[in-house]
Symmetry: D2
Subunit: 120 residues, 4 copies
């Protein structure tokens, strides 16, 4: 996240840094605590879907989508904050993981198979 | 995520689209299922920290940081995938949420307070 | 969990106490850490279901059910351990919560409604 | 959970069965959905601890403990409900898992070690 790119994650990282600094909240933002908070926000996102059928989850009413979008923002914000604290470049990490998964799940073997499919 | 920005989340979204399409996995990627997978990955990230003290979590050994980085990548990848399915612009959503939180936690009231501090 | 009932949660609490004491693991078992571990185990349970349809989740193959049963055990064990540390009687708490939910979701209003249905 | 024991989990299972039947909510209670709900409740429990130090988590104020107790009840209730749907005896499963962990973490090797300590 070191590239000075106005459309990437760097401006978001900086806004979150300022938000925490202004409130003197860095003291609470250990990686351990941020990982907890991230997990809690991911569960709040899941909560919006837990009683829906898969089909219903594909066509959320606007008001519901608005709430889902907000929970997704919380997840991203804590993830970017954690990446900042651990000095991890999220986009590089994501690309590396896709490359790894391409080896783990070769196209010819994985095609349409739920058996092989234990993760992304 | 519609801006054609090589450093933003759009190329990541596109790589994930191709990864799923190549394996015929879109059938599994309902928003409901993706929200579950995201939550599971966030917990796998948390697992790396669960028995550490906050201090230990600030100075991870390199091998441990490598695993943490990989779990963070999983979280981002599922989040971007979900955003794609729901047509949510993640960076806009994140910015909007920070603006909302700035109103919810005014600097003068929130400074250093753990009481007011229930979320980011 | 103080009743000396061989079929209740007390013997389980005692077995878990001994397990931790034998290994000198009480030092890691702060309520904060146990709540993290519980959440991680709940996600490992969810992972077994994340790509299944609801129907598939109702008829698990024996080997899969065996794994699910093991994750459920992990959840219960951490929950009982946390209850022990906080001196909470789980069965009483569960009964109290059902009574609360009966008021929150009156039968005539809640019947079959997914709208009212935000939690158990 | 088949033993007719007034102090065990069977009365709780029965109360939850009646609660769902009265509201016609069995239609929502697929194992997949119950596993999601369980995971969400575990995260709500974790949320109460996320910004506390480990020490603070050991001495919760009464009002906070009351909320924690309620979240623990939600976790147990969904766990018992899931066990009912999958015909799993939770106490047997918990005992079997402890026996398994005793083999996985022999006392002489595990004593005080955080390295070996990846799960209960």
């Amino acid at each position: 996240m070191s590239a000075p790119n106005p459309h990437g994650l760097t401006p978001l990282r900086d806004a979150l840094r300022k938000f925490a600094a202004d409130r003197d909240w860095d003291q609470f933002h250990s990686p351990k605590n941020l990982a907890s908070a991230l997990s809690v926000e991911a569960a709040e996102l899941l909560e919006r879907f837990q009683w829906l059928t898969e089909d219903q989850s594909r066509r959320l009413p606007p008001e519901e989508l608005r709430k889902v979008r907000e929970e997704m923002a919380d997840v991203l914000n804590y993830l970017v904050r954690l990446a900042d604290k651990l000095d991890v470049n999220l986009l590089d990490a994501a690309r590396d993981k896709i490359a790894l998964n391409e080896q783990k799940y070769p196209v010819e073997k994985a095609r349409g198979s739920v058996k092989k499919y234990t993760e992304l």
